[in-house]
Symmetry: C2
């Protein structure tokens, strides 16, 4: 293999694909990134669960491929002076990387031992604005389960219907739903994408980009194309919660709150929560204000947050962290907190009446 390319293009391709390289693996090549030089240069990272590759322009004088240690090669390229980088790999995989007066020689690994990325037999293809999808992931991924006991919940469900994408994450204690318009086949489709792939997708996507992400959904895999970069992930199998049934529709009480006010009050009272006993935050919904109280082995905390509406004195207890996560993620300044009883789920909605998000949290039983 013999090629030259722009340092800054190579640097960003290596940084992006390294996200998918394994940090520790019994298969040494998986700790590397694969360089494949043909018409251009493809840089790939893959940990058997998900892969990321990106193509960059290169002057290839001798096609070929090699696997290079991801961390070492990444640092090397990052620290090189700006300019044109030349990469030469001999038949023994000895690789020489040069830029200006800097030169490194080190052993690469045989690309023949690099596992092949799954091909996505692209049956259905959707497109959605990059910044929008980024925000949807960012604002719902907190509810993805980190417990491997039910693997299906370590991912988020993508439900597409009539030009609307609904993204749902759920971990048994709470649920997060985000909804936006999407382009693609109108008929109903559902697939579950691992949280790890979604967090990479979220990081790779630009917040304010008007560019679209192309989502290709195959039988076992799904791919996301962001500019010249592609993330390929297996789909998660299994029965996902029927979120439509799980989310209550009718509420006895609907209380309007300012997001940052309720967030600050919660943030303060949870200070006193004991990491071990995870004591609940007790909220009392009165007319015009919500009382927060928390008593733990550490001490007592009390706070107050103004609200619009009358809570009729209803008392309800929450895991403070779950409440914080939902309040932090909610993309609206004004929220509606919907309640039925002290022992039934609480739903948080945007106050503007849109259906962009719905966050549900199960309460914790309070001792009298």
């Amino acid at each position: 293999m013999k090629l030259t390319c722009e340092k800054y293009l190579l640097q960003s391709a290596v940084a992006v694909s390294t996200r998918a390289a394994a940090s520790k693996s019994p298969i040494p090549t998986l700790e590397g990134i694969l360089l494949e030089a043909g018409e251009d240069l493809r840089v790939t990272g893959y940990d058997l669960k998900k892969g990321i590759y990106t193509n960059i322009e290169a002057e290839v004088s001798e096609p070929g491929s090699v696997v290079l240690d991801a961390k070492l090669f990444g640092e090397m390229v990052r620290k090189m002076p700006d300019g044109i980088v030349s990469i030469v790999t001999d038949s023994q995989n000895m690789t020489t990387v040069k830029c200006g007066k800097s030169e490194f020689s080190f052993m690469g690994m045989d690309s023949g031992e690099y596992p092949e990325l799954p091909s996505v037999d692209g049956l259905k293809t959707y497109t959605i604005n990059q910044g929008v999808l980024k925000s949807m992931i960012n604002q719902s991924i907190f509810a993805v389960s980190d417990n491997d006991a039910r693997p299906v919940y370590t991912g988020s469900m993508f439900e597409v219907e009539n030009g609307i994408l609904t993204l749902v994450s759920v971990d048994g204690y709470r649920l997060a739903l985000r909804r936006e318009a999407i382009e693609g086949p109108a008929e109903h489709n559902e697939f579950i994408v691992p949280g790890a792939a979604l967090s990479d997708l979220e990081r790779i996507s630009a917040p304010d980009s008007e560019e679209t992400v192309r989502i290709s959904v195959g039988g076992n895999h799904v791919s996301f194309t962001v500019g010249k970069t592609v993330i390929v992930s297996r789909r998660l199998e299994g029965d996902f919660l029927n979120y439509k049934k799980a989310l209550p529709e009718v509420f006895k009480l609907q209380i309007k709150v300012n997001r940052s006010e309720i967030l600050r009050a919660t943030d303060r009272v949870v200070l006193i929560v004991d990491e071990k006993t995870k004591n609940p935050v007790r909220m009392t919904f009165n007319e015009g204000f919500i009382d927060f109280r928390c008593t733990t082995p550490i001490g007592k905390a009390e706070d107050v947050c103004f609200c619009e509406g009358n809570g009729e004195g209803m008392e309800i207890g929450f895991n403070g962290k779950y409440l914080m996560d939902a309040l932090k993620a909610a993309p609206a300044d004004e929220l509606i907190v919907c309640l039925n009883t002290s022992s039934s789920p609480c739903v948080i909605l945007p106050a503007d009446g849109s259906d962009k998000f719905k966050f549900m949290i199960l309460p914790i039983r309070l001792r009298a």
Copy 2:
């Protein structure tokens, strides 16, 4: 104890004094900070080696004292709404902290169990510009030893003579010296301050402040007064290196280099250095350029840096990290690298001829 004070004053006092609180200690009060209310409020952190205290304005309606968990109280104050904080401690040390609608109650600890800070029997007092002392510490502390075998080298020596402060750190492999004017008694004085106290002092000091630091040197302790904050530390005892003898004065070769160029070349070749074998970076000083070479089990690296002067082909090996530390710290754009032989110490000086800093590094023997 009963008092009110401005939240932002309390917040910064707690943040600063917490630096000296012990993170884990068999004496529980040392993990806390001491509040003492008299004419004003004094906030103290102390880990038996060093203490930091600061006084802030407070309306004290009932003098007294209490020790509060440093982490919890710090977070509490930080998250409180802006305004006036009230702190009330009863005779059982039950403490209530209030601000606006927020209220916390929790157990404090008995201030009687808090060890008394050593008093500095201030024999000699010096003053120096805050930003200047900050830079002196910042640019020499890297050479302080982290090895407890010779405790005296875990600190930096302050040598004062004829209005000049010389700060010297040395760890057996390298030496860093910084020198600036200071005000105070003219006669010779020397004292050794633990590196831990100096790094707190460095962090507390403002970089561009024209305010002075007052240094009071007692028989066993030294204190640094920065604005309303005082750091008290024990002095380290023992024989410190005679740096005047250790630093060579005459050199066979003096090579002028641009700091950022030589830093970047070194930064690249050390990439290939194996953490375990710590292979040396081989530098060859030629006429007009320095060759860098490094061969390790990982691979080979080569680089070039331009210079002024003729090195006559001298080859010398360095621990790349030590070279990097000195080059990063050096407060000058142009440096002189002074050499005698491949096996004698290298000294790095500012090219402008000043004596503001001298960094010495011992070479590593190279295999042929």
